[in-house]
């Protein structure tokens, strides 16, 4: 029971109140729960919901927006399967179903006083955007905040306008990189060319008392984790948000286990130290 209603088993109706295309295949949705008592929808950054498109089914999606919009929340959706395809045809004020929020999310309260390094690859920006806004809302509690974000190509960079705004902030650092560049500064953003590990080696950021939160495709984890540890960030302080097939969201359907941990209910955010030694985890 969260947010006043039991949303674990039966999807509650939600209305699409905003829709913004971020790239050719990715769209940001803002939704609100429609119920008479005006449900609050609070969550921790890193948590996810199960979104239902009637007759299509359900998909797990990271919550991508600031955690305290109270009556609305944001989801960043890439069109990859049949449900997200159906979703992409929906417009405000179409209705969908929502269960959740599920999973643990990032443990912000344990990070007080630390420097924080966020590393997002591709769509991995979704949960880290949520995390970044949560950190900035409580800016005074943390040390240096750095976001490194890598995308395949300039047109695949999501949230360009927001990134432009963030790049002007003095209380955080932003570094962007693309694998392949066709233009010098996509959308007026200063951007490097190369993979994220290269970016990591090439820029300055605090490495003492630092926690890293990483989200991206499996290939990113494989090449990044050694690098991070090379900078002295221990496996205890590296947090990864994992993707798995999650059908129920509550640790019942058994598709998402990583070792003896359920991605949906023990995760999806894990310390790297929890995953070391689990074959197939990374």
């Amino acid at each position: 029971m969260r947010n006043g209603r039991d949303m674990t088993m039966v999807p509650l109706p939600a209305t699409i109140i905003g829709r913004k295309e971020l790239s050719a295949d990715t769209t940001l949705y803002r939704l609100t729960l429609e119920s008479s008592e005006k449900d609050r929808f609070d969550f921790n950054p890193g948590q996810f919901v199960q979104l239902s498109v009637p007759s299509g089914g359900e998909v797990p999606l990271s919550l991508a927006g600031p955690p305290l919009l109270h009556y609305s929340f944001e989801l960043c959706v890439r069109r990859v399967g049949h449900v997200t395809d159906m979703l992409h045809h929906l417009l405000p004020p179409n209705r969908v179903g929502v269960r959740g929020p599920f999973g643990n999310g990032f443990p912000l309260s344990e990070w007080t006083g630390r420097n924080i390094l966020l590393i997002a690859g591709g769509l991995g920006i979704a949960p880290l955007r949520s995390l970044l806004y949560a950190l900035l809302m409580r800016r005074g509690e943390f040390g240096e905040i750095t976001l490194m974000y890598g995308a395949r190509e300039p047109s695949a960079i999501l949230f360009k306008e927001e990134l432009a705004e963030l790049s002007g902030r003095r209380d955080m650092h932003l570094f962007l990189t693309v694998d392949f560049a066709t233009e010098q500064s996509p959308g007026g953003l200063a951007c490097n060319t190369g993979l994220l590990p290269t970016l990591l080696r090439g820029v300055n950021f605090s490495t003492t008392g630092t926690v890293a939160a990483v989200c991206g495709p499996p290939a990113l984890y494989r090449c990044l984790l050694e690098e991070l540890q090379g900078f002295g960030i221990t496996a205890e302080h590296i947090y990864l948000s994992l993707e798995r097939r999650m059908k129920c969201g509550v640790g019942l359907c058994c598709h998402c286990a990583v070792g003896d941990l359920f991605c949906c209910s023990d995760g999806p955010v894990f310390r790297y130290s929890q995953l070391k030694g689990i074959s197939g985890a990374i």
């Binding site: 007759s55 299509g56 089914g57 049949h82 395809d85 159906m86 045809h89």
Partner: protein
């Protein structure tokens, strides 16, 4: 909701798949009400492909120039192409003897008239055009056809399970013909969805729905050989509905 415009066509086949649709007697009024049926030679007097079509549903394999012409015409005028039934998806019964000479086969059936026939090895649709979705089965299951139509109304395709016939067969608590009767049951290799129709009445799975994802063909072959079936008998059984098994495939 905008009514989808559909076309239903048959190529080299027995029309059984199209009959599956006509046999949905209870649902036909609803189907007629929710779809615009633009082309359906089996069920309509009007026989012209007139314009842009949302979904073309095609039964049968391609084995003649005129099959190919109809297929191309439909592909060029439709948004989505659905292969209906095993022949359209895998080649099916008509393709059973594809490894033999087409000329000899035609000669055996038609004698000297065979020379006039314009025919080539029956092939599944995907050899010629892109298919967007397939409903397998010989004939397809009513339920899967209706679920597909229902999904089309919403602009999508349904998700059908990708496990073998054995799964449904075990759930139904049938006697395992492979283990208990040592029969040449193809259940482990064949796409489910039929609710183990044949094994439920004591008939081994003949494989009419075609291969399941990741069929372990080599292991099934070893099992049959171990049970004493001659290899050519196994191959001939397996080719009945799908001529292109890779007998070395394990995953």
């Amino acid at each position: 909701m905008k009514k989808p415009i559909i076309a239903i066509a048959g190529l080299t086949a027995c029309s059984g798949c199209q009959l599956t649709l006509l046999n949905c007697e209870e649902e036909l009024p609803e189907i007629a009400q929710r779809f615009i049926i633009d082309y359906f030679p089996l069920g309509l007097t009007e026989r012209l492909i007139t314009g842009p079509i949302d979904v073309a549903i095609v039964e049968g394999a391609v084995s003649t120039p005129s099959d190919l012409e109809i297929l191309m015409k439909l592909r060029n005028s439709c948004r989505c192409l659905v292969a209906l039934g095993t022949c359209a998806l895998w080649g099916g019964i008509a393709a059973m003897k594809n490894q033999e000479s087409r000329k000899d086969l035609a000669g055996t059936v038609y004698g000297s008239a065979a020379d006039e026939l314009k025919t080539f090895n029956p092939q599944p649709l995907h050899r010629f055009v892109k298919i967007d979705f397939a409903i397998t089965g010989c004939p397809p299951e009513k339920g899967e056809l209706l679920a597909t139509l229902a999904a089309l109304l919403r602009g999508t395709f349904p998700v059908f399970p990708r496990y073998p016939v054995c799964s449904e067969c075990r759930s139904r608590e049938n006697l395992c013909l492979l283990i208990e009767r040592n029969e040449m049951c193809l259940g482990p290799l064949i796409q489910a969805g039929c609710n183990a129709r044949c094994p439920a009445v004591g008939i081994r799975c003949e494989g009419c729905r075609g291969p399941v994802t990741e069929a372990n063909v080599a292991a099934e072959m070893e099992l049959f050989l171990k049970k004493g079936f001659p290899r050519d008998e196994i191959v001939s059984r397996m080719q009945r509905f799908y001529p292109e098994w890779n007998y070395e495939q394990r995953s």
